[in-house]
Amino acid sequence: MKLLPRLGVTAVFAVLAAVLVHAVLNLPEPAVRLGGAVDKALGQSGVSHPVTAVLLNFRGYDTLLETAVLLLALIGVLTASGQVPGSMRRLPSTPHAFLQSLARLVSPLMVLAAGYLLWAGSHRPGGAFQAAAVLAAGIILLYLAGLLPANAASTSSLRAGLLAGFLIFLALAAAPLRNGALLQYPVEMAGALILLIESGLTLSLALTLAGLFLCLPDEFEEEDD
């Protein structure tokens, strides 16, 4: 890009930043305070941690859509790399023996940590996304250590695993429609339903997140356009 447009763009953003700073320093008190509403409704939400309550109950519809976004990204990555799920990239070099031993030691611990994070989400920071991230990291660690078999699962069962969590969420979203609203959990079952959704999500999201890394296009494949 030539110099003058570069300066122009930089100037625009500098001005924007300055105006934003001025606006932010002169904010009035907000008219609505949601903290009180969250605390009042927390008892009916089925969990005792406010963030989890908002994420999985009060604004659970956002979480439903965001799960779809993540799945969608995986499909996009698969499109970009022209692969079917189940076949992964080649490892660039043979892993060091120390890495393999470490991976063998650490991966069961990671599964344990993921399980704890999932369960802890109901009363402290944690939940499905955090557990899925740890689990995905474990899968990638196993891959990097060369311990993951080349075709770890058949294509259809892998796709089923990817979708299971989302489909469970979708089913539980649709089920209350008969005599209530979308995603309206009956109060006495709310905690159990949230746990069910989060368990399904943990598995699917772990596979999705791992897939986002493992299914990237291979390097330097000779491609003719």
Binding site: A31, F58, L65
Partner: protein
């Protein structure tokens, strides 16, 4: 019936997931079944809200501001109807197209399904943060669809589109952050009641950021650079979806924000600015379209130009007489409809040309009038609607916009629209002229399956017939 609203979102989510699970063959059938159901639901919803009614649905059973509200009014129901009704013929067309042209068929159905789910969710959402999530759903799905073309051209176009759309939604998100900081809620209804003329600077900035973000996503001049390669380089069914439908989603959001949230803040100056950019888009896009040598690129630049008409809404509806506002909203909505049908038809027809002859070079289109008369007829009828000739819906849309310009005393937009109509005629006739030439010796024409031509023809007919049935659409729109 309140249940329609969530079903419109859950249905495409379901069949998109099943399409991913079961593969492309079953995917097409599930998609067609799903979209048919969505058309029925959209019609039912339209009947429910006609005459100015509003239907709301509190997701999770929690009322705003704690929960997310979904709501459908005349404008939303109209956009939903447009989306499902255009998607159905395109689904049939895509099935036929991909049976011949393998590239991109593996993941088309799941991506298209999530795209439709995102669009429905966008039209139904009444929560500014939820709107951000739906914007990303639509954007990422569209990028994936563009990339499915496979060539370096497609991938580069998809990346450009991705960066543009991320800039747009990033700006929008910052706007949401400012609004939440200033008012403590993200519910559209509550925010509308809280925003007044004495709003803090943060609200003004939020308006600027959110509207600029939507302008980028709708490829308004001068942010249009990403659209022609993305729409022109994608497989034909994808181009049709993008030009006819996706581009209208971010425009709808801009209109919604302008009419509800930021109504106390809008000034005639900012409205005129939008109008000027729209006029520039009309003229610039049409001129560049004339210079194109490939059919799909011509149609893509035509989209850039037609988007300009949509943005004439803002100067015509801001601080003007009520009947000017009503005409402007009706005109723009009808334009979205007619352009949706016509552009989908044109891209589908271009795809049919590619399927038959293997290329889309305009200079070598000779002979298609003899071998593919239905496709040429489609291009002609769609062109009539784009040009704004009676009795098409395109004519009625431009008529309403001119009406609004007269009622608000802004006659200069009439000149712009006339110029745009002439330029549109120029590039439409350019295509038709070449189509009626005799075929060159070297070109072979493969026979086409019926479904590669008929959906396009029906879409073009719809854009023409809509001119006669427009009163129903306008009644649905009701009062803004």
């Amino acid at each position: 019936m309140i249940d329609i609203i969530p079903l419109l979102i859950l249905t495409p989510l379901l069949w998109a997931s099943l399409a991913f699970l079961f593969g492309p063959v079953w995917g097409a059938r599930q998609a067609i079944a799903g979209i048919t159901l969505q058309v029925v639901l959209a019609v039912m919803l339209a009947e429910n809200v006609s005459g100015g009614a509003l239907r709301t649905h509190a997701a999770g059973g929690w009322e705003a501001p704690l929960g997310i509200t979904l709501s459908a009014d005349g404008l939303g129901a109209t956009m939903l109807l447009l989306t499902q009704v255009v998607a159905l013929p395109l689904a049939f067309y895509a099935e036929a197209y991909f049976s011949r042209h393998r590239d991109g068929s593996d993941t088309f159905w799941p991506l298209a399904g999530y795209l439709l789910a995102g669009m429905n969710a966008l039209f139904l959402s009444a929560d500014v943060f939820n709107l951000y999530v739906t914007l990303e759903l639509v954007g990422l799905a569209a990028v994936g669809l563009v990339a499915s073309g496979g060539s370096a051209h497609s991938v580069a176009a998809a990346l450009r589109y991705l960066f543009a759309t991320l800039l747009g939604s990033g700006a929008y998100l910052l706007g949401v952050a400012l609004l939440y900081a200033a008012y403590g809620t993200v519910s559209l209804a509550e925010l509308t009641s809280l925003v007044s003329e004495a709003a803090p600077t943060a609200t003004l900035l939020a308006a600027l950021l959110m509207l600029t973000g939507m302008a980028i996503k709708t490829a308004l001049f001068p942010f249009h650079f990403w659209l022609p390669p993305a729409h022109g380089g994608a497989p034909a069914p994808v181009s049709a979806l993008l030009s006819a439908l996706v581009i209208k989603a971010s425009f709808y959001l801009a209109v919604r924000l302008w009419l509800t949230l930021f109504l106390p803040l809008v000034t005639p100056v900012s409205a005129q600015l939008f109008g000027v950019l729209g006029a520039a888009a009309i003229c610039w896009g049409s001129v560049i379209a004339l210079r194109q040598t490939r059919l799909k690129m011509l149609i893509a630049y035509s989209t850039v130009a037609q988007i300009g008409y949509l943005f004439l809404f803002f100067p015509l509806a801001t601080d003007t007489a009520p009947d000017a506002v009503q005409s402007a909203l009706q005109g723009v909505t009808l334009h979205a409809f007619s352009h949706g049908f016509a552009k989908a038809a044109m891209f589908a027809a271009a795809g049919a040309v590619i399927l038959s002859t293997g290329h889309d070079r305009i200079g070598q289109l000779g002979g298609i009038s003899a071998h593919m008369p239905l496709t040429v007829f489609t291009l002609a009828i769609a062109g009539v609607s784009l040009m704004g000739l009676p009795p098409s819906a395109g004519f009625l849309a431009k008529w309403l916009l001119i009406d609004s310009a007269i009622a608000s005393g802004q006659w200069w937009w009439i000149l712009v629209m006339i110029a745009g109509g002439l330029l549109t005629a120029a590039y439409v006739f350019k295509v038709l002229r070449h189509a009626f030439l005799r075929a060159e010796q070297s070109v072979t024409f493969r026979p086409l399956p019926r479904m590669a031509e008929w959906p396009a023809f029906l879409l073009a007919l719809a854009s023409l017939a809509l001119g006669g049935r427009a009163t129903e659409v306008l009644n649905l729109l009701g009062a803004p």
